[in-house]
């Protein structure tokens, strides 16, 4: 398996093997200009990237398209294969569908009520998850209304279903309650595919419905957020990869080849929590938007020690050794010729953050890194260094039998950093896992995101006042998403965006080497914004060895 990896990857991403050497030779400019070539912007790793290089989502989706069309033989240009269902049947039924649909809204209410749902066996584990399930005690008309209304008003619905229309996942409300709605969704998809066309999205006042088709699954989002269809599609992709990471692409397609209307929830039961968590994470953590990882601010010396220690604590089967804290990267060591894709890293972060069980001890779990190789499983050794800290060690191995060897790496690693006193420095650093924007010393500046493209790392301060409430924090991220989507618009990308809104001014600046997003007071002037940029860039340059991993190591 390892043998065929390099070829595949080079096919996936040409920039992946960006020559690291160029990094050191050229001296690093004080203040950035778009002239900056990759590798010289602040935060650019000197040893080259440790990630598959990625500009942002779209190249992924792009290559997904190619994958979907090109690689898999059973699909051809534009639209996935016609579903085994009889197309003529569909189109005939279709004119009647509307009539049947008029019911849906009402059916929904009934179905939302317990008991009325078809008597499928409730998959275990799904019970405990925090979804707005209708209350168990029989409810009155009014309550039903409220329930439905509340259900409608959710910011973002996400549905996953099989091409046969079988529910796989629903963020809110039980899948079977929504089976008829999902039936319509798949009907719509297949109807258009019957015309060699493909449904993308439906737009209405205040919300969008976005469809993503990844055979054998159909993913649908209904969102009231400001996000573009493009972005929503990308989030759906994350969900898709999340599922892959549990099953591998190979297994998934195999299952449905075997059984058209297989109920995938049987396999995924319990994993809803992870998916829910991923959705929440995406709404709060800019990492996903930036398609990059954030580092724990750490003195360069300490980080080097940690990296070195990781580097030394290895066995043959190890591909990646990752130390992280609260979804922030502390250190990452990889096999010389292997690159980790940010998406895969995010999935790992999500996996870890979505379950507290890992704190209990050492976990050894199979995990598929879909961007790395959707065909097979890796085996992740997950453990917290000390139960009371957030430092989590993640060792990714290719060999399922290697648990003890890998576990031994952990021990050796711990020894080393203890010996070198690095763990104290780490504990210290963990006490302030985020820095305050005030440190930059720009009074109007409230928050910012800075991404170094070549290193695939980004940095941003803690979100502080006035963005104290959760809603405000999500709103802020929403604004960043908005700028990002405009800047990276598929057909009309932009270099610079300056936005003056009622609550804040924002500025986005995308160059070949970096992306910068500023948020500052709505009373700030453009002039101040411009000077802020320069001040900020100098500051980042000054702090870069603390905020970024400049010298990533390989085994």
């Amino acid at each position: 398996m390892a043998a065929d990896m390099p070829r595949k990857r080079s096919g996936e991403c040409p920039e992946g093997t960006l020559a690291p050497s160029t990094g050191q030779s050229v001296e690093r400019a004080e203040s950035p200009t778009p002239g900056l070539t990759q590798g010289m912007e602040p935060g650019a790793g000197q040893e080259g990237a440790m990630f598959v290089h990625t500009r942002s989502y779209e190249d992924l989706t792009e290559l997904e398209d190619r994958e979907a069309s090109g690689d898999s033989p059973k699909e051809y240009v534009g639209s996935p294969p016609p579903l085994p269902t009889d197309i003529r049947q569909i189109s005939q039924d279709f004119s009647e569908l509307s009539t049947q649909l008029t019911g849906v809204a009402r059916d929904l209410q009934e179905e939302m009520l317990p008991g009325s749902s078809e008597d499928w066996l409730e998959p275990q584990g799904a019970a405990g998850r925090p979804a707005t399930e209708p209350s168990q005690e029989s409810s009155t008309e009014g309550e039903e209304e409220d329930a439905t209304e509340a259900w409608r008003l959710h910011q973002k619905h996400v549905f996953v279903l099989s091409e046969a229309g079988k529910p796989v996942y629903s963020r809110y409300g039980s899948e079977e309650a929504l089976s008829s709605t999902m039936g319509v969704m798949v009907a719509l998809v297949s109807f258009l595919e019957a015309d060699k066309n493909a449904i993308r999205s439906i737009h209405a006042d205040g919300y969008k419905v976005v469809f993503v088709r990844r055979s054998p699954l159909v993913l649908v989002a209904v969102a009231r957020t400001r996000q573009s269809a493009q972005e929503l599609a990308q989030e759906l992709l994350y969900i898709y990869y999340q599922i892959l990471s549990l099953l591998t692409g190979a297994q998934l397609s195999h299952i449905f080849q075997q059984k058209q209307n297989y109920d995938l929830r049987r396999l995924l039961s319990g994993s809803e929590r992870i998916t829910d968590n991923l959705l929440q994470l995406m709404a709060r953590d800019p990492s996903f938007l930036m398609g990059a990882a954030r580092c724990l601010p750490l003195a360069a010396a300490v980080r080097d020690t940690v990296s070195a220690s990781l580097q030394q604590a290895r066995v043959r089967s190890l591909v990646f050794s990752i130390l992280l804290a609260r979804n922030q990267l502390v250190a990452l060591v990889r096999r010389k010729d292997q690159f980790l894709h940010p998406i895969d890293l995010h999935l790992l972060f999500n996996l870890i953050s979505s379950s507290s069980s890992f704190r209990e001890g050492e976990a050894w779990t199979p995990v598929c890194l879909p961007k790395f190789n959707a065909a097979g499983f890796f085996h992740a050794h997950i453990s917290y260094l000390e139960p009371d800290t957030d430092l989590c060690l993640l060792l990714v191995s290719t060999d399922r039998e290697d648990f003890f060897a890998v576990s031994d790496c952990r021990r050796r690693f711990l020894e080393r950093i203890r010996k070198r006193g690095a763990h104290l420095a780490l504990r210290e650093a963990l006490r302030t896992p985020y820095y305050s924007v005030a440190q930059v010393g720009i009074p109007d500046l409230r928050h910012f995101l800075y991404k170094s493209k070549s290193s695939g790392l980004f940095t941003s301060p803690e979100i502080e006042a006035p963005y104290t409430s959760e809603e405000e924090q999500e709103r802020l991220l929403g604004l960043y998403q908005y700028l990002h989507s405009r800047a990276h618009n598929a057909s009309r990308p932009l270099k610079t965006i300056y936005y003056t809104g009622p609550n804040e001014n924002l500025l986005a600046w995308v160059t070949g080497a970096f992306e910068l997003y500023l948020c500052y007071s709505p009373l700030g002037t453009k002039a101040s914004a411009v000077s802020a940029i320069h001040k900020l860039m100098r500051w980042i340059r000054k702090e870069e060895d603390r905020l970024f991993i400049l010298t990533p190591l390989t085994y």
Binding site: A438, G441, P443, D444, E464, A465, P466, T468, E472, P502, N503, E504, S521, P522, L523
Partner: protein
């Protein structure tokens, strides 16, 4: 016909005097407008009555023969009496001056004195058949001093006191007139001129008779009026009045011809610059206004009567004395009687009945007699007492009953504003001159008099438009059209329109929900900017949201209303906008932090509050090197609120950069 139809009337309070009879001779002095009743040559008394002085002067004088002519000098200082054709007797009426009479004979040998007239309180002119003699009277010396004299054959003479010009008729046909002008001891001879007599058969020698000539000042100019009984142009029969303009300098020129279109006995008066021609046969009168347009043939302008001929309004003789007690109905007075004598400008005397009247023009009736509103306006605006009538005409033409068409209304407004503008300009140039300090220069410029013809916007607003708009019956379309016409007219004469007119327009439009129109008017700045207007618009916001934008725009354009703008914005909870605006005009360093923080707090928008709060923290930092608020700013509660909302640590720390 109803009294509404008479446009001429005799004054209610005539000067009453003892009827003329064999023992009582009555004289009239045009200069002082006095009537002399000389009983038995003055022996039994002389009673002098003027129009204004109600208590008559009465005195006695010895009867030294029949009195030919008797006149006081101006201010009744000296009495002159002519008894013979050779001399005139004088008597001082000046206190502590000898009452003894003294006499002056005419210098010229065997000349006969035709008459005399006072040109001032102590200057007198003798007119003899051979010329005129100009004397100064020296009352204390009881003698006269000849100032100037001129020899010329005189048939008859005529004196115009207002312009102190004497007209002498010379030559056989008597139609060559020689004017003399008197002023402060000087006598100047003006160029003489000839009155064209009507073409007439050679046999009958007709000459110019004194009766057919009158002198009067019309519109400030002196005219010689000649009543020509037969038009020279034979085609048109009927008499006409020819007006010769007699300027201070230059030759006399024939200017106007008033067509009477009838023959018979006529008499002339001039009232309020109108030439009134009485016709005895029909007992009617007609009036002419030489300012109204007539047909101009290149040399003279022909005029027709402004109005159809009408009799003077019937007049009741007021009963004097005991008769008044007995309630017998007053005697109607015989109008146009042959016993009437007419003097210039406006005097009618009935010697037989012993009455002196001033003739007056009634404007109100004319309104209905003159259908052409434009002409009517031209006519009225020239009259002294016109304002009330003019305004009534305006209201009338807008009234339900006899509504005029828009074009007519437009012309009326234009005529009004024409006068109005003339006055404004005069006013302006006067004030400018005064500022320029030319006031000292001579002749010292006079402040322009505001005649009744000046009808300004407030007059029209209060008396015409607002009542008109009040009337709910009138269709809104018409109301708007009229208002717009008036505004148009004002603009056409470059008269700045007062805001209350605009308000009237707006209110009307709003009343009928014609907001879109309103918007267009404002768009094209037909309703020009003003604070009151802006405020009115603000008040309309509830009916018509866009009014808010419009009003803000207006305030902004005024550029003198920055405070108002801020207030408006704050009142709309647009704290950011307000702050940005203030900063834009550089006023942000001296505004009250508390005011803005209050406003921000009221919005219940913590994000906004944060922004504003930060802004002032930074201002403090900039101005005082410390972000904290001073007690003087009274922002304690806001600081507390900020802490509670965002926590202590969110407060700005004093920084140095």
């Amino acid at each position: 016909m109803g009294s509404e139809d008479y446009y001429l009337e005799l004054c209610e309070r005539p000067v009453q005097f003892e009827k003329a009879n064999p023992v009582n001779c009555v004289f009239f002095d045009e200069a002082n407008k006095q009537v002399f009743a000389v009983r038995s040559g003055g022996a039994t008394g002389v009673v002098v009555k003027g129009p204004d002085d109600r208590n008559p002067i009465s005195f006695r004088m010895d009867d030294r023969g029949e009195v030919k002519c008797i006149k006081f000098s101006l201010e009744n200082k000296i009495l002159a009496v002519q008894r013979t054709s050779k001399a005139v007797d004088f008597c001082n009426f000046i206190p502590d001056n000898s009452q003894l009479e003294y006499t002056q004979e005419c210098k010229t040998k065997n000349a006969n004195i035709l008459g005399f007239c006072w040109t001032s309180s102590t200057e007198i002119v003798f007119i003899t058949d051979q010329g005129i003699e100009f004397y100064q009277v020296l009352p204390e010396k009881r003698s006269l001093k000849l100032l100037k004299s001129h020899n010329i054959n005189v048939n008859w003479h005529m004196y115009c006191p207002e312009s102190s010009v004497i007209l002498l008729s010379t030559t056989v046909l008597e139609n060559v007139l020689q004017p003399f002008y008197f002023k402060a001891g000087t006598m100047s001879k003006l160029p003489k001129f000839e009155i064209e007599l009507p073409a007439a058969p050679k046999s009958t020698k007709l000459s110019l008779s004194e009766r057919d000539i009158a002198m009067a000042t019309i519109y400030g100019q002196l005219y010689v009026l000649f009543l020509r009984h037969h038009s020279r142009t034979s085609n048109s029969t009927g008499a006409e009045v020819v007006l010769y303009h007699l300027p201070r300098e230059g030759a006399c020129k024939k200017m106007h011809i008033l067509k009477l279109n009838r023959t018979g006995k006529f008499a002339l008066n001039v009232v309020d610059n109108l030439v009134v021609v009485h016709h005895q046969d029909t007992e009617t009168s007609v009036i002419f206004d030489i300012r109204l347009r007539g047909e101009f043939d290149g040399t003279v302008t022909f005029h027709h009567p402004v109005l159809p001929a009408r009799s003077i309004q019937p007049y009741q003789i007021p009963l004097a004395g005991p008769a008044a007690v007995t309630n017998q109905s007053p005697v109607p007075c015989k109008l146009y009687s042959s016993s009437w004598i007419v003097f210039q400008p406006d005097i009618i005397i009935s010697a037989s009945q012993g009455y002196l009247w001033n003739l007056q023009v009634k404007l109100q009736p004319i309104v209905n007699l003159l259908p052409d509103k434009g002409r009517l306006m031209d006519f009225l605006l020239q009259r002294k007492e016109c304002k009330a009538v003019v305004l009534s005409v305006c209201s009338q033409m807008l009234s339900e009953s006899d509504r005029a068409t828009l074009p007519v209304i437009a012309t009326v407004f234009d005529k009004l504003n024409h006068e109005y503008k003339k006055y404004l300009d005069a006013e302006q140039s006067y004030t400018m001159a005064v500022e320029a300090g030319q006031s000292r220069s001579n002749p010292p410029l006079k402040r322009p008099v505001r005649t009744q013809a000046v009808v300004d916007q407030s007059d029209v607003y209060t008396h015409v438009l607002s009542p008109f708009v009040e009337n709910k019956e009138t269709p809104p379309k018409f109301v708007i059209a009229v208002l717009m016409e008036y505004i148009r007219s004002l603009n056409q004469f470059q008269i700045p329109v007062q805001h209350y007119l605009h308000e009237l327009v707006i209110k009307t439009l709003v009343q009928h929900n014609l907001f879109y129109m309103l918007h267009q008017f404002l768009q094209y700045h037909v309703l020009s900017d003003s604070k009151p207007l802006a405020c009115l618009l603000l008040s309309l916001e509830s009916f018509y949201p866009p009014a808010h934008q419009l009003s803000l725009d207006m305030l902004k354009r005024l550029s003198t209303a920055n405070d108002e703008i801020v207030e408006v914005l704050l009142s709309k909870h647009q704290v950011l906008a307000a702050l940005r605006f203030i900063r834009g005009i550089g006023g942000h360093d001296n505004i009250s932090a508390r005011k803005f923080l209050d406003a921000a707090k009221q919005t219940d928008d913590v994000m906004l509050f944060y922004t504003i709060f930060r802004f002032f923290e930074q201002r403090n930092q900039r101005l005082r090197g410390n972000p904290n608020f001073t007690p003087g700013e009274h922002c304690e509660e806001h600081v507390a609120f900020f802490k509670q909302a965002f926590g202590e640590q969110a407060l700005m720390r004093p920084t140095t950069f």
